[in-house]
């Protein structure tokens, strides 16, 4: 059992983020110089390719270490594609493809979307809302010929990417692949297909959400203890205390369930049906925690937290947006519910109790 405090690489990540990704500093910045410095430092520390084995050009960190890095990234609402690059590197490594340097992302990130690969190894298809699509140099794509899956490394320059944005103003592009020749291509192992990408991505977003909730809980508590109204710190009012206790509850739920899913994947090594309950639950429950938690946080900060100048939106808008990546909670819940129903009532409790 690896907890975050055991992870040296996560501590390194936290140090880099504290130095170079302070949310208030970035919020105040008038240019994007911070981005170059931040990405340079994370790359130097081997974080973006943490999940790539050393033989393929990465840092060869464990799955648990990678999730611990992403928990830290969530705490800083990290505005660079570290999560996406980590995941892309992992995906490429599954098929034995060397990871290139630079920012990467993955596709497809929505359920019910598929990229086709034809007989001559060219890619066709459409993927909506690819995170950081316009900033990434490469995209790791899962494609299928209808029988088996392949992993392809695609240069962003070879694709059409629109200039869409998510709620937080980060690039989020619709990707069109029109007869694109991948830079590299390899068969995926039987355990990896486009659903695997949703499972890994869903867990990653859950871990990021839990980290962001931890950060806003700390921000809210600190503010409630210092902001005075009616001649007392607002944190002394029971109504505010009850709200913050609820925020703590939602944060706790997100931490526990995302940690459980990450741990399940890290222990399993290979993605299989046994951890579907864990990952679906994490994505669903973390998304519910976002809705509740971000509303409470904004209520605590009042008008101040509704300004561009304040950092709160850096967390809340990202969390709200992360809910939609790699399957939203409604999609996961419908899938989980159907799965439970198909197994039947007698198998239900044994399944829950098996985790």
């Amino acid at each position: 059992m690896v907890t975050e405090s055991d992870s040296i690489v996560a501590e390194t990540a936290a140090r880099i983020f504290a130095d170079l990704a302070d949310p208030q500093t970035i919020n105040n910045a008038r240019d994007t110089d911070w981005k170059t410095a931040l990405w340079g430092a994370t790359a130097e520390a081997g974080l973006p390719l943490a999940w790539v084995p050393e033989a393929l050009g990465g840092a060869g960190a464990s799955l648990a270490d990678g999730f611990a890095i992403l928990g830290q990234a969530g705490r800083f609402a990290l505005p660079v594609p570290l999560a996406e690059t980590l995941l892309a590197g992992w995906l490429l490594a599954q098929a034995g493809i060397d990871a290139p340097k630079g920012m990467m992302t993955v596709a497809p990130v929505r359920p019910n979307e598929a990229i086709e690969i034809n007989g001559s190894g060219r890619l066709n298809g459409r993927a909506r809302a690819v995170p950081f699509g316009r900033e990434a140099e490469h995209i790791a794509v899962v494609a299928s010929d209808g029988k088996s899956s392949a992993v392809a490394l695609v240069a962003a320059a070879d694709c059409r990417l629109d200039d869409g944005h998510n709620l937080a103003g980060e690039p989020s592009s619709d990707l069109v692949l029109a007869d694109v020749q991948p830079r590299k291509l390899a068969a995926a192992p039987s355990s990896v297909d486009r659903h695997t990408l949703l499972v890994m991505g869903g867990t990653i977003r859950s871990v990021q959400i839990a980290g962001a909730l931890e950060a806003i809980l700390a921000l809210c508590v600190a503010y409630a203890n210092e902001r005075v109204a009616f001649e007392r710190p607002i944190g002394k009012f029971q109504a505010v205390q009850q709200n913050l206790a609820r925020l703590a509850g939602e944060t706790a739920a997100a931490l526990a369930v995302s940690g459980s899913a990450a741990d399940a994947i890290a222990q399993a090594g290979e993605i299989d049906d046994a951890i579907f309950l864990e990952v679906a639950s994490a994505k669903i429950r973390c998304a519910e925690a976002v809705a509740e938690g971000s509303a409470i946080a904004h209520q605590v900060f009042g008008a101040i937290g509704f300004t561009q100048e304040h950092v709160l939106h850096r967390f809340t808008l990202r969390m709200l947006s992360w809910r939609d990546d790699f399957g939203n909670e409604s999609q996961w819940a419908a899938k989980l519910g159907k799965d439970i129903a198909r197994r039947g009532a007698d198998e239900f409790w044994p399944l829950v109790a098996s985790r």
């Binding site: 703590a248 509850g249 931490l255 519910g337 198909r342 009532a345």
Partner: protein
């Protein structure tokens, strides 16, 4: 503060234990001891069942062997608790003693009392009740007025306790009684915890029927009840110091989110293998919420086993868990709204939902109200 939920997995020995518990439950249900589908029929005073559970070694599981315990771990106790709870097994007679009275006695009772009482709890022979609420005070524990006055032969108790579950069948009460006035500096000062033999002369138990129609609550009136000196538990006037660390045990167990579980199990049966999209999504969310609560609860059990004191985390489990189990019949009602009336278990589901609606209001009151729990969480966050 940092919230912490260590990732605890149930060890392999828990699987074997779970199989044994399930086999026992199946045998008892088949023999007609209880009906898992009809929780409203469960009798709290099933002494024979508690003795069988005791004989299996499933009471006082974590306690030292020299007191009749079994020196197993908290995670094994977790498995037994959740399997009994999910099956609606009649464990109420011994459950309070197993969960909280025994551990308090282990910590504070004199040796000869431990040797006398703890083995009997482990054998499933004793029912314990908690004497905290009074007619004039509930959540405000430290406003308790029922008094214990020092006399030569021990202490004389006068006053009343109320909402005392199972007092009409109980052997012992662990009660808080006022031994001194509170002070200006510390309004929590002046309460002492006593072990009271419910057969003592001067105790009257008056039944109070709750809104489900069941007799669980009681009022307990003390009229010059004599309690010997060696029945004082812990520090005189200092019971408040003993309270907080024990709360984690009482608040985070699976009984704090599985009380109405039966409607979810029955809902899955009613929905059948191919539910519509609305029901499938609703079911999926409930399962995700249940899995989350369970993982939190296991984590707290594991942290307790490791000697940590996750007081805030435990309070969060009860806050989220009781609200969830309270809302569960509401959700089951919504998700079953469009089912065909002739679905085979529809009658059972409706009966269960109806019973759960009647039980629901108590879930966020007993053992620490939502408001009190959130106060504890807020204190843990550094707000008070």
């Amino acid at each position: 503060m940092t919230l912490q939920f260590d990732q605890i997995r149930l060890p392999p020995e828990c699987d074997r234990l779970r199989d044994e518990v399930r086999a026992f439950i199946a045998e008892e249900a088949a023999a007609g001891t209880f009906n898992p589908n009809r929780p409203w029929e469960v009798e709290s005073q099933d002494r024979a069942f508690s003795r069988k559970v005791g004989a299996k070694g499933w009471i006082g599981m974590t306690w030292p062997k020299k007191y009749g315990g079994h020196e197993r771990n908290f995670l094994e106790r977790f498995v037994v608790t959740e399997e009994f709870r999910v099956a609606n097994a009649p464990v109420r007679l011994h459950f309070v003693a197993d969960r909280q009275s025994g551990p308090i006695l282990l910590k504070y009772a004199p040796e000869h009392i431990k040797q006398d009482i703890l083995p009997r709890i482990c054998r499933g022979e004793l029912c314990f009740v908690i004497g905290m609420s009074e007619p004039g005070s509930g959540s405000d524990l430290f406003a308790a007025k029922a008094k214990a006055t020092k006399v030569n032969s021990g202490w004389r108790i006068n006053g009343s306790k109320i909402w005392t579950s199972n007092a009409h069948i109980a052997d012992y009460m662990l009660g808080l009684f006022r031994t001194s006035a509170s002070t200006k500096e510390n309004r929590r000062h002046g309460l002492t915890q006593f072990l009271v033999d419910m057969k003592s002369p001067g105790i009257t138990v008056n039944p109070i029927f709750n809104m489900t129609g069941q007799h669980d609550f009681n009022e307990v009136v003390f009229d010059d009840v004599l309690v010997p000196d060696d029945h004082v538990l812990g520090e005189i006037d200092g019971a408040w110091k003993q309270a907080t660390s024990e709360l984690a045990y009482e608040r985070s167990g699976p009984e704090r989110f599985l009380e109405t579980y039966y409607v979810l199990g029955e809902l899955v049966r009613a929905l059948g293998p191919e539910p519509d999209l609305r029901s499938a999504e609703g079911l999926g969310r409930l399962v995700a919420q249940l899995h989350t609560l369970r993982r939190m609860s296991i984590s707290v059990a594991g942290m307790l086993q490791a000697g940590k004191e996750p007081v805030v985390e435990a309070s969060i489990v009860k806050d989220l868990g009781t609200i969830w189990e309270q809302k569960l019949p509401e959700r089951a009602r919504e998700l079953s709204a469009f089912l065909e009336p002739e679905a085979s278990n529809r009658v059972t589901l409706d009966e269960q939902i109806a019973f759960a609606f009647k039980v629901a209001p108590k879930l966020t009151i007993q053992g620490g109200t939502t408001e009190i729990l959130r106060g504890i969480i807020a204190r843990g966050l550094g707000l008070r």
